[in-house]
């Protein structure tokens, strides 16, 4: 059977499973809708968190991105996993003890302030929309590349599916579909990686394989018998240097910037509402701790495989394309050329493809080959000559990754509208039934807006992923941390801190993306810190401002200090806050 048929079969089967689960897990109460009745077992919550977390970008783009960055790419690997240690140790058990539904609600209650609630609400909506736009686009892209349908049709199919299970099932439906989506996406990611690792090094564990020696079979695949018995990384380092790149295993970016980006991604991860609310869904406080542990196991499984995929794919790509006559190009190269992900421009007219540093369409560069980062994961199974069903599986996996993240984000938006805005600010007297309708309606409207973003991607989306993390890092992370660990932190301090953190971070990113893009380079940055890493500074300013302001203003009321005290111990549920 052809790749196309396999992709349709596997995607169709996975979609049928998602729909069945959504019907089975439909929500009857607001508790169901927001937190799945706090009844999700920790292991399953870990899987759902993994699927929630790993987006279209993690699945399709990350390995390729790292293959261009070498060791510097580790800031993604460490940054997007290290945040879970912070989540587990600093947030998860205490937020679970608090036991309510949303992050704006926690911030509003803890800081006894509707203003704080409103800031948190706007921030949650902004961060989630920024993020979800990319996911819906991702759904469309996977459909168009694997299944011969237009991007827009793909987005609409994805929208219809998410609409169905997010409005029907709320958190409960989303959680159990995410469990299924995790299984699909991790299988789709690991199988090609295991096969490739076996082919090149004889070791079925890719995490070890890419630090091993190349076997005879691997050397044959690379068309270079001399590589047999050499360490794969040494071969790639040598190859990179020969072509004029830096050694793959060396770092190129200024150390301070790598440090700040990693930190910003870590605390941004710990501050993302769609991840934080997952810890509200487990039965007990110890479950919140262990589900963070499960989540990181499931996430690390993909995140430790990704750098292996980068190394295998990059070595293989260079060896099978560079210095090869175009007429003899491998068949996958010509297949993927149609999608525009790879390309060749014969600048020196010798009919041979040359890979060099620089852009392929820049006449001054000797590079002739276009390599889109996504190709490293998408074409990997074909490059390694794996069976068609494995290729089909990659399509289903990419869709699972994009849909699961989109659903988690949409729930944050829906809860922010129905629970925080309607129930807690505008219409406190409404019945549970009415609130549930607002929640479903909010999810529905959010899906449609997200889909429109997917069909008409606003120019800013691609550039503002850094924005989502920076904003979460500079607003939520400090506000929640101080809310739990500093009883004396008051509303004046928290509000001032959030405002300063958000304004500073947003202004810095805006300046380098729009104000003066020409100076967006290490020499132009303040202290050499890129816009991607500035969330760290924003968070530090937030802490500092909060601390100073809280010293000069009234300390929080006694019942709030008591509430904070009660968060720190497992046992009884927190009494209802009486802040409004």
């Amino acid at each position: 059977m052809s790749i196309l048929v396999w992709t349709w079969i596997l995607t169709g089967l996975s979609f049928a499973v998602y729909i069945y689960i959504a019907y089975w897990a439909r929500a009857k109460t607001t508790g169901d809708f927001y937190v799945a009745e706090k009844s999700v077992p920790p292991l399953l919550n870990g899987m759902a968190t993994g699927a929630d977390w790993m987006s279209a970008a993690s699945f399709i783009s990350m390995a390729g991105l790292i293959s261009f960055l070498g060791r510097d790419g580790s800031y993604y690997l460490m940054g997007w996993t290290g945040g879970y240690v912070l989540l587990a140790l600093l947030f998860a058990p205490y937020l679970r003890k608090y036991g309510k539904f949303t992050i704006p609600q926690f911030i509003g209650d803890r800081y006894y302030s509707q203003t704080a609630r409103l800031i948190a609400l706007l921030c949650a909506i902004f961060v989630s929309f920024t993020y979800v736009a990319g996911q819906m686009r991702g759904v469309g892209v996977v459909f168009s590349r694997f299944m011969d349908v237009g991007i827009n049709t793909g987005v609409i199919i994805g929208m219809a599916l998410v609409f169905f299970y997010a409005t029907l099932g709320g958190m409960k439906g989303i959680t159990y579909t995410q469990v299924a989506q995790y299984v699909v996406l991790i299988t789709a990611y690991l199988i090609p990686a295991i096969f490739i690792s076996m082919h090149f090094t004889g070791n079925p564990v890719p995490q070890i394989g890419y630090g091993s020696q190349i076997t005879a079979e691997g050397a044959a695949l690379l068309n270079d018998p001399s590589t047999q018995g050499k360490y794969l990384l040494d071969v790639l380092d040598g190859l990179s240097k020969d072509l004029g790149f830096a050694a793959y295993t060396s770092g190129q970016r200024p150390m301070i910037d790598v440090f700040f980006i990693t930190f910003s991604l870590m605390i941004g991860t710990a501050g993302l509402p769609h991840i934080l609310i997952r810890f509200f869904t487990v039965p007990k406080i110890r479950d919140a701790r262990s589900s963070a542990g499960w989540a990181l196991i499931f996430i690390a499984l993909l995140y430790t495989t990704a750098p292996a995929v980068s190394v295998f794919a990059r070595t293989n790509f260079i060896k099978t394309v560079n210095n090869v006559e175009y007429v003899n190009a491998p068949s996958w190269f010509k297949n993927w050329e149609k999608t525009g992900l790879v390309g060749w421009k014969d600048k020196n007219g010798d009919g041979i493809m040359q890979i060099r540093p620089g852009k392929w369409d820049d006449p001054k560069s000797a590079n002739e080959v276009k390599i889109d980062q996504d190709i490293m994961v998408l074409a990997n199974p074909e490059i390694a000559k794996l069976p068609n069903w494995v290729v089909g599986l990659v399509g289903a996996g990419g869709l699972a990754a994009a849909l699961s993240t989109a659903a988690g984000l949409l729930l944050v938006i829906s809860a922010a509208i129905s629970h925080d805005l309607m129930k807690n600010i505008l219409k406190p007297g409404m019945s549970e039934k009415e609130e549930l309708w607002w929640a479903r309606g909010g999810a529905g409207v959010a899906v449609v807006i997200a889909g429109l973003f997917g069909i008409y991607p606003p120019g800013f989306v691609a550039q503002v992923v850094a924005f989502a993390f920076g904003l979460a890092a500079a607003s939520f992370f400090p506000a929640i941390l101080m809310g739990i660990f500093n009883k004396k932190m008051n509303k004046e301090g928290a509000i001032a801190g959030m405002v300063v953190g958000i304004v500073f971070t947003a202004a810095y990113i805006w300046w380098f993306k729009y104000g003066d893009p020409a100076s967006n380079n290490p020499a132009g940055w303040w202290l050499g810190i890129s816009p991607e890493g500035i969330g760290t500074v924003g968070a530090a300013l937030n802490f500092l401002t909060s601390y100073v302001v809280s010293k000069f203003t009234k300390e929080p009321p006694a019942e709030i200090q008591e509430l904070v005290g009660s968060l720190r111990y497992p046992g009884k549920e927190v009494p209802a806050a009486s802040s409004h």
């Binding site: 060791r71 690997l77 996993t81 240690v85 058990p93 070890i208 990384l233 046992g571």
Partner: protein
């Protein structure tokens, strides 16, 4: 239920803070020190085909993160029981 024994609970919280501090120190050392600040120096050593600093940045810190969370889970389970604040 010892939830009202303030002195006991203060001790529980203090022990919790010590656990968090120790684990976060290790968290910082494997990622920021070994994977970034000292990565170039550590690259002089190798495990298999991996330069050591590169390995910490690519694999070692991630594996340590997983271990850290599970150690925390275990320690906190014991601490909850020691102070009788576990839920059942």
């Amino acid at each position: 239920m010892s939830i009202h024994a303030t002195k006991e609970l203060k001790a529980y919280w203090k022990e919790n803070l010590v656990i968090i501090s120790v684990l976060l120190t290790i968290w910082f050392v494997v990622s920021y020190v070994c994977g970034i600040l000292l990565a170039n120096q550590l690259d002089a050593y190798r495990i298999g085909g991996f330069p050591l600093g590169f390995w910490f940045a690519n694999q070692g810190s991630l594996v340590t993160f997983v271990v850290l969370i599970w150690v925390y889970v275990g320690l906190m389970d014991r601490l909850d029981i020691k102070y009788g604040v576990q839920q059942d």
